[in-house]
Subunit: 453 residues, 2 copies
């Protein structure tokens, strides 16, 4: 198989229809400048907000997207492309993204309907990016949003991302660790994500370590020999209580113990009591094993004595919401000097036309009051505009943002969110309105389209 | 950010605890040869079988795993490793996988408890691979298994993988297309997956194409100009029936039409009737939009006139089963010439010890009757052993299998599966038993562990 290298910025990282449309626009000389917006139509039922993430990977792709010679050859030989003229393939050979991007920075809290990204570019360029932008931002935003919920459930106790083995391949694992870190997780078990992004890494021993020794006490001893100050010993390979008794009997204090199965609430209380009884009050109790925000919340309500949580599947392969169903829609077109707003008006899936900005209104204390989704041309001086320019004429407007800045933005943003939304239960929704000029525009476009039908 | 290149075979593609255990084994001179097995504990409720996939990516990783100098430096400076001796890092610098692998080939049908992969190697090597093997095989097996269900629901009508934008990043999208193809999907929208794996690619136009034109008829015309023989025109941007009337009125026959929203059953019947009325009987009706096996099955039951289905989220981001919760367990250890079987005996999560083989028994007509999970050393001459050797002393035993062979194996296997299991409903389970020698061994190990407690 070819190395991943060659394909990280490949123009073929897209759905085929993006390229057929590209050929169509090219060959019919449809020279328009288009604006596309990327957003979530509707929050999953139990979500009160989303945490934007994945922008950095999206920008990296946009800046570097290229079609290699052999990729163009591949396209040229697709039966579907048999009537496409050679000029189109020459165009792909010199393809670069030359457009402008506005985005809501990573770590920001966003709601349904709010564009996380706005792309304005020659229509072919904007179109080809669709698939990759969606997959980068949809995935990381999903993970970050889930991570925020886990942290709310954990009430300040650390949550560590443990999902690498449950992720959809290693790349997904790496970006999941990144997104979880943005949204306040304490660290990750994923070593390479730790190296790439400077995320603190966590991990000590698995059941296999204990199973490898004939004697469980010996397994614990050998681990303490190598990691005298930082060993977290796993208690549930055979029997939690027997394991803890052995550790206490040996008299060597570990940094922590971990429970990965069984009745975590009851076991953690028992373990805490035993540890305290021998004066090991600073030994941390770590819990893992199919945890999600519901279980974490329930454990804490039932008096579990757990100091930190490891969460895998719930972050990287969640089932509580299919995914965010993020979409990327054409909203405006400029052709031959004329601007025309575009909207999709099918029954179940209509979208608002026009290039947009999101304005966030806060009260004097800084608590957010409402968001207004408005035309980009509107002015709302008392509100903060959320979309900021990040790329102009294909060039970034600044260096990549340090990941710590995105994380700090998330932490800070959560303080401004109305308190009722800091819940894993569905709360009365944060007010998001569409501006009157935007509503008027939708009516105008609707009439225009109906008249032509 | 560093390029993906440098990390495709990185030894850091793992959970940190694999490396702390590695350091622990190294430093305490625990020189054992270990056998680990990778399997699914339990089928998700509504699944009757799984389709094995992802082995090729796993083998590619195992063959090439290395620790680069700067990766070793990173580990050396982790606070957790401060007491680890320098010799361990020297060992990582020359780390190669030197072990043996047995596996059930891709495209095979497997059941709960059956090892898809068996790794026998120096314990450190086997341990470090865990995370990456799980993520590669868990993900592709999940997608392939879902794809098989979609194909069952579609009753022979083509299903095309459309998931790139919903996948967990672009790598996940690529491997999802691969897995779906193994399990009988007709092709993919994912262009680079088409190129990398020779999978047929599908795709024509999006709503944005129609929205870009002031007039829908013009949008269809321009597309037909460029793709006169193969255009599939999208009907639901504004109004399905109005769109089809326009196409018919123009008199240029497209290859197909696509419905992406609305009442697919009613609309497809209406569309089919109109197309037939003008003699366009060979124009295909393609449906997409949040389809899964339940909806496909229901559409066909309700007389939908759909010729092919495009499926995205259900394949790449399914919510019907958290994931397969595949695990990788130590089952046997050879140290100082003595073999010792290992098992995990915690209440909810016990595993069978010993290196295993899966024997499949068929009747004279070739229909499978039952599987027997047995010790690798057992002999069952009337059954087919499913695990075959794929790597010895770190070297593959043959070239990578062509993807078409895995796909053919899946198609063929489905013919041998008892017919009741070819259903998207839960059927009486396929009989999978553990052999008596394996049960005896579990008892022996259980007694041994209990005696020591």
């Amino acid at each position: 198989m070819e190395p991943l290298t060659s394909r990280q910025h490949s123009g073929l990282l897209t759905d085929l229809y993006e390229l057929t449309m590209a050929a169509g626009y090219f060959q019919s000389r449809f020279n328009a400048r288009a604006t596309f917006e990327l957003f979530v139509r509707k929050l999953p039922d139990e979500r009160n907000f989303l945490v934007a993430a994945g922008l950095e990977q999206a920008l990296h792709f946009v800046e570097n997207i290229r079609f290699a010679a052999e990729e163009i050859e591949f396209l040229r030989h697709l039966p579907l492309f048999r009537h496409v003229h050679g000029e189109f393939f020459d165009y792909l050979a010199r393809f670069r993204f030359t457009g402008d991007l506005w985005a809501i920075p990573e770590g920001s809290l966003v709601f349904a309907g709010e564009p996380l990204l706005r792309v304005t570019a020659p229509i072919i360029e904007g179109q080809i990016l669709e698939t990759c932008l969606l997959s980068a931002i949809n995935f990381q935003t999903m993970v970050a949003s889930r991570a925020a919920r886990l942290n709310i459930a954990a009430k300040g106790k650390p949550v560590v991302e443990f999902g690498a083995r449950r992720a959809h391949g290693s790349e997904a694992g790496i970006f999941a660790a990144r997104a979880a870190w943005i949204a306040g997780c304490q660290g990750t078990s994923n070593v390479i994500a730790g190296k790439l992004f400077g995320i603190p890494t966590y991990g000590t021993q698995a059941h296999s370590w204990v199973m490898a020794y004939e004697d469980e006490s010996q397994a614990f001893d050998r681990f303490l020999d190598v990691f005298p100050e930082q060993a977290t010993l796993l208690l549930d390979t055979y029997n939690v209580r027997a394991a803890l008794r052995k550790i206490i009997a040996r008299g060597r204090k570990p940094a922590g113990v971990r429970l990965d199965s069984g009745d975590l609430a009851a076991d953690s209380r028992w373990v805490r009591a035993q540890l305290d009884r021998v004066g090991w009050r600073d030994v941390q109790i770590f819990a893992s094993g199919d945890l999600d925000e519901g279980r974490i919340s329930s454990l804490l309500r039932h008096g579990a004595k757990i100091d930190a949580f490891g969460v895998g599947s719930a972050l990287v392969a969640p089932t509580d919401a299919r995914n965010l169903s993020m979409i990327y829609k054409l909203v405006e077109l400029e052709r031959d000097g004329k601007v025309r707003e575009a909207a999709k008006l099918s029954e179940s899936k209509s979208t608002y036309p026009g290039a947009k900005q999101v304005f966030r209104f806060a009260n004097r204390a800084g608590k957010w009051q409402k968001d207004l989704i408005a035309l980009a041309s509107e002015s709302h001086p008392t509100a903060a505009p959320l979309l900021v320019p990040v790329m102009r004429a294909g060039k970034r407007l600044g260096p990549p943002e340090p990941l710590a800045a995105a994380r700090a933005r998330c932490t800070e943003s959560l303080k401004h969110l109305p308190a009722r939304l800091l819940s894993i239960q569905h709360a009365a929704p944060y007010p998001v309105r569409y501006s009157q000029p935007l509503k008027n525009l939708l009516q105008k476009v609707r009439r225009r389209i109906q008249q032509r039908s």
